[in-house]
């Protein structure tokens, strides 16, 4: 049974009515085309309306949709000759982050990305896409390797956040994330960051310091998960919906804040409703961006990356008479 959200119910109900009517017409040999046409028209309008006016919280739900394509689904189609590479060479391999090398439109690239599970079993194996330090250190190793062999880097962002637990702290979760951020900011290769689901906190940022941050239409990126934010601000994680409304976490909001560089359209209703179309749209965005970045000189690329992050933030300049 596919996951259906409350706000989608009118669409789903109408679509099933149409399907019913069609099979009824077939069975009885009736011609109901006009009626069906009207209903289909209504369904399409309803979809446009509902999916065009999603609240931030509804976007969070779509970004977390269990059937939403993740990094591996996109890699499978986008990247040919993909070879997965594992391990951080220090402690272990972390399945919450996948990485490897392959070709994008014929050009060798390095790919790293968070990986949530598609079912309970995979989710347990991949810790729901929440990485330990070894995951970030694996990513770091592959990023440096990409630089050594002068391959562009593509990162997929899809994580609720870094794992929070004893082992993660003991092995230096903070240090691992900090190191990734610093190293990425100066990697001498083009870096394309694709936010494909939810980007949560430092655990997402650890793979996000790129030349371009492209966000899928229904993806979100936030300073912490709405649940964690609600718990910090209001001491009540149940107010996640309220937090989502004020955090400015949608692709549209982040384009406005100049954090996202572009929005990649999704099929109506979200990537999970038409995976093929979603992948096509993603590929064409990456293709365009790749051409742009590979045409830039190394120094120009690095300067632009520095400027991109350097400029982020809003402050006032008050008179100097003291606070």
């Amino acid at each position: 049974m596919p996951t259906v959200f409350d706000f989608e119910r009118p669409v789903i109900e109408l679509e099933s009515k149409i399907a019913e009517l069609k099979s009824f017409a077939n069975e009885k040999g009736l011609s109901l085309e006009t009626e069906i046409g009207t209903l289909e028209q209504r369904a399409s309008e309803l979809k446009q309306f509902i999916y065009g006016n999603l609240t931030p919280w509804q976007k969070v739900l779509i970004a977390r949709h269990p059937e939403r394509p993740g990094s591996l689904e996109y890699i499978e189609v986008m990247i040919t000759d993909f070879e997965e590479l594992c391990g951080d060479r220090l402690y272990g391999d972390d399945a919450a982050i996948v990485g490897g090398i392959g070709r994008f439109e014929g050009r060798p690239v390095t790919v790293v990305g968070h990986r949530k599970g598609r079912d309970t079993k995979e989710n347990l194996a991949r810790n729901f896409g929440m990485a330990h330090p070894e995951g970030y250190r694996k990513a770091l190793r592959l990023m440096k390797q990409a630089e050594k062999f002068d391959r562009p880097l593509i990162c997929f962002i899809d994580t609720p956040g870094a794992h929070c637990g004893l082992g993660a702290e003991q092995r230096g979760q903070a240090e691992a994330i900090a190191k990734n951020i610093m190293v990425m900011s100066a990697l001498k290769i083009p870096i394309i960051v694709l936010v494909i689901g939810e980007g949560g906190s430092g655990g997402a940022l650890a793979l996000s310091v790129g030349d371009r941050i492209l966000m899928q239409e229904h993806s979100v990126f936030s300073v912490s998960s709405p649940e964690a934010c609600a718990s910090i601000i209001w001491k009540d994680s149940a107010r996640a919906r309220d937090a989502a409304e004020v955090l400015k976490l949608t692709a549209h909001d982040l384009l406005g804040l100049k954090i996202a560089d572009d929005i990649i359209s999704e099929p109506l209703g979200g990537a999970h409703r038409d995976k093929e179309e979603a992948t096509t749209l993603l590929i064409s965005a990456v293709s365009r961006t790749m051409a742009e970045l590979t045409a830039m000189g190394r120094d120009q690329l690095l300067d632009a990356r520095y400027q991109k992050f350097r400029k982020i933030g809003v402050h006032l300049v008050s008179d100097s008479s003291g606070a």
């Binding site: 870094a162 430092g202 606070a323």
Partner: protein, 282 residues
């Protein structure tokens, strides 16, 4: 039942920590060992409890006072102030209250001064200002200080004290991690020294950025240092954390800090380290 009732009444105990009538400001109770300390003595001891060695949290002013050579400090970017870029509910009010309570414009003060005669760029965070959280202004001031240090080929010392990224500025706060780390990376590439001093608490988005990127990382005894907060971890794993978990000594043992330095020795240690990095020798 009745006997139980009388029994209980007989044995009712007086709590040990009944509020004593302490004149405001003259005495202070140690958070750790509950010892009542004479404020003047505590201040003379760099706000370290004489009985148990607990390091009280410092204000920026206190930190600058005990660290820098007298009258050597000059502040940068004092005029930078936070706005409420996301129109986050109640944020403007919280900023105003924090400013009023601390007398600071934001959670970090940056500038330059000298330690043992060595010129240095410093940034000092203050946990009394919205838990030292990092929003746009904290990130901007630290980045400008790092850039100034790089342009002028000066060493950099950051005293970290922060709960992490400031929720009320959302992604703008998260991206300050990238901005600050990036500038620290360039400073490092230029062959310059960055000493990070972790004080209580150094958590979240600050520990996961510039705080843990120092060439040399020192910590104050007992400082809480980590990525996820201890309460969050306890809720997630549903068990109590071991004694001393995420404390400075724990990080030393795990290899994430170079030294745990008691506060009275901090300025001397910093002066020594700065001296060892002076170019051209004496």
């Amino acid at each position: 039942m009745v006997f139980d009732f009388f029994k209980k009444a007989k044995y009712f105990t007086v709590k040990q920590d009944v509020k004593r009538d302490i004149p405001e400001g003259l005495w202070v109770k140690c958070d750790l060992c509950n010892e009542i300390l004479f404020t003047k003595d505590l201040e003379r001891n760099h706000k370290v409890c004489q009985k148990c060695g607990h390091h009280f949290r410092l204000t920026v002013e206190e930190r600058l006072h005990i660290t820098l050579d007298p009258d050597s400090f000059s502040e940068y970017d004092a005029e930078l102030e936070s706005s409420n870029p996301l129109d986050f509910p109640e944020y403007s009010g919280r900023l105003a209250t924090a400013q009023e309570q601390t007398g600071l414009r934001e959670a970090v003060i940056t500038g330059e001064g000298s330690i043992g005669g060595h010129r240095v760029v410093v940034a000092v965070m203050d946990s009394h200002f919205i838990m030292g959280s990092m929003g746009s202004v904290v990130g901007e001031k630290i980045t400008r200080a790092v850039e100034f240090a790089q342009e002028n080929r000066l060493p950099l010392i950051v005293f970290c004290a922060s709960g992490g990224a400031r929720m009320q500025e959302g992604m703008l706060s998260l991206l300050q991690m990238a901005k600050t780390s990036m500038s620290v990376g360039r400073h490092s590439e230029a062959g310059l020294l960055y000493i990070s001093v972790l004080t209580d608490p150094t958590m979240g988005g600050v520990s996961a950025s510039f705080a843990l990127l120092g060439d040399i990382i020192l910590a104050e005894p007992g400082a809480l240092i980590g990525f996820a907060g201890p309460r969050v971890i306890e809720q997630t794993i549903r068990q109590k954390l071991p004694e001393g978990f995420q404390r400075a000594e724990f990080l030393l043992e795990k290899g994430f800090v170079d030294r745990v330095v008691p506060r009275p020795q901090m300025a001397g240690t910093l002066a020594g380290l700065l001296s060892l990095h002076e170019r051209g020798g004496v």
